[in-house]
Symmetry: C2
Subunit: 413 residues, 2 copies
Amino acid sequence: MNMQELGQRAKNASRVIGKADSAQKDRCLIAIADALWSERADILAANQEDIAAGRENGLNEGLIDRLTLTESRLMGICDAVRKLVQLADPIGVIEGGTIRPNGLRIEKVRVPMGAVGIIYESRPNVTVDGATLCLKSGNAALLRGGKEAIRSNTALVAVMRNALEQSGLPADCVQLVEDTSRESAAQMMKLNGLLDLLIPRGGAGLIRSVVENATVPVIETGVGNCHVYVEKTADLDMAVRIVDNAKTNRVSVCNAAESLLVDEAIASVALPKIKNALDVHHVILYGCPKTRSILTDIQPASEDDYGREYLDYKMSVKVVSGLDEAIDHINRFGTGHSEVIVTSSLNAARRFQRDVDAAAVYVNASSRFTDGGEFGFGAEIGISTQKLHARGPMGLEALTSYKYQITGDGQIR
Amino acid sequence: MNMQELGQRAKNASRVIGKADSAQKDRCLIAIADALWSERADILAANQEDIAAGRENGLNEGLIDRLTLTESRLMGICDAVRKLVQLADPIGVIEGGTIRPNGLRIEKVRVPMGAVGIIYESRPNVTVDGATLCLKSGNAALLRGGKEAIRSNTALVAVMRNALEQSGLPADCVQLVEDTSRESAAQMMKLNGLLDLLIPRGGAGLIRSVVENATVPVIETGVGNCHVYVEKTADLDMAVRIVDNAKTNRVSVCNAAESLLVDEAIASVALPKIKNALDVHHVILYGCPKTRSILTDIQPASEDDYGREYLDYKMSVKVVSGLDEAIDHINRFGTGHSEVIVTSSLNAARRFQRDVDAAAVYVNASSRFTDGGEFGFGAEIGISTQKLHARGPMGLEALTSYKYQITGDGQIR
């Protein structure tokens, strides 16, 4: 099937699920969770084939790990689908309204986005996650995953389409793009009039490609060059804990810290303490000249290092003169994701939160909390680093839009 | 100055106005309104030069009219700026928040978008309108108007920059792109990292070009292929009034009706009545075969006619079998702007409002009400026909985003 046809089918299916009531959507989600579990043997077998092919093609262990489904991971996926059932349906909420002086009644009503495309890498969990978040919010999903996961994705999508039909909804509410070539992705990015939204989920290269080439509306997600700034009044033990957690709790994720800023006034005390903690995890530091005059055995940092999302046990370090330089540095090199100040000064905390231009601005907490679950959203479709539409962790509402319903009795202008 | 530098200056200025308080922004708006009026002689002289050059270059009268400033139009522009002062500042509103079980306090705070680009045609009123809406909402504006208005725009922007400086704000909060070549527009569309948002305002060609070429986030505005559907239970006098108003009140605007759908059951009575009213305004009708069996002297409609935004005294007409066909036709040919049903059936009204996929869905009122002023927003930056971020008339809030401010006492994951 060509991309235009896939897009048209997604649009058509979106018209149907867009008006499905909450109970029908929830019954469908339960059917999906049940079927994913009962069909686990076939799903895991398909996944094993993907893994074998991946090893043959020399995929590194990190990618193999992301590709791998196990019985326990599949159970986690099913549990996440069941949790979605518990969340309130975002559709149909009347957000406000007014009766105008001329008697027109105007209501603003939450509606689904329509047909949503997701382009992602070889992570089969995103297939279920993305599809079910779309279904819960009344959207049709067109999924284009990485080629290494094609067998797993085909098995997962077949199960979901079957469950949709059994629930009386069109199977085309979830479609997989079977052609995993670059061209299929490029075509998908230009389905104007068919796709209402495109979300890229993956590494910086994938996201850049979508932002540069898409003509349909896009939400940019996920790239995080996050900083921890240790201000001169910081509780140093807290600073050590937060830097250590933000850097080493999980290095491969977008809300991990990549860069450390330390006030000059406390650098000679703070830097050795922080380095001691990071040394336990063998974190490699790249420092500015002032940092290296204190931590004499670390690598020098280049300008490139300050802009780098390592996603690894590496961190750039810069000594700054104070709050102003820290804010300027972050606004220059940051990606607008998650930024942290450790301070005991109320004034520094207020200024940092006001002036740092990022989705999540933390005082005295780890950047690792930027997450739909940690924010209490119950589900997350991604973390937006743009300011249009949605910013930071995106819950179900990010997959919705609104319409105005206006009712009169013959009003004209 | 090259485009990159203009973008960087806009971004830098946005950091300053983004934290200006409401009183300072409002003082600046008053200073702008005062200065536009006191400098009116220079502004109108510059505008006269544009008009003379336009006539020399054979600009048609419609475009000359849009280009023309008069003392009374300038007074209207100044009044609109003063009205902005009265509106509530959208920035700094705490939209919600929570204290999480781990003690983290999360607040969602409304913030400016940052640096906003506006690409528009030769309408000098948009220069002031766009700039002042951006200032009120804490944004820096980078304006790229049409080449025919360059002298008027230069004069208007000089006055606004002067007023900004006198109010203690950076002049670069409002910048005009003096290079009106196609290349300057193309470069502006790719200022990722500098422009946070780009809004095209103008005709379908301009908007398509921006949607196809921009890599910065865009809000698509303004193309309106709006329908009026006269359902079989409609009050025919009301239907005539609404069709006449939606079509002829002002033909050049995006919320004017371009297409008429009439239920077969009432077509032989309704169509002649509607035609009588439209004949007064010499509206040319393009009909389907069934329509032409009733209105025998009108032109045939092609498929193209159903998708056309005439912006003229022209209208396509189609007889439909009922509500389902009307909704399908509108969802196929409409642009998601404003759609109208005239009916006395509660069920038809409910289904039409639910199932038509458009920003504004009317029951028994003219599509001409889709307008920020008519909706009570007090100001309008444009009418969005996309579902991402904003839909329908956009007030000040469409020029804002939000951030999460999270405060803890050492929380880690």
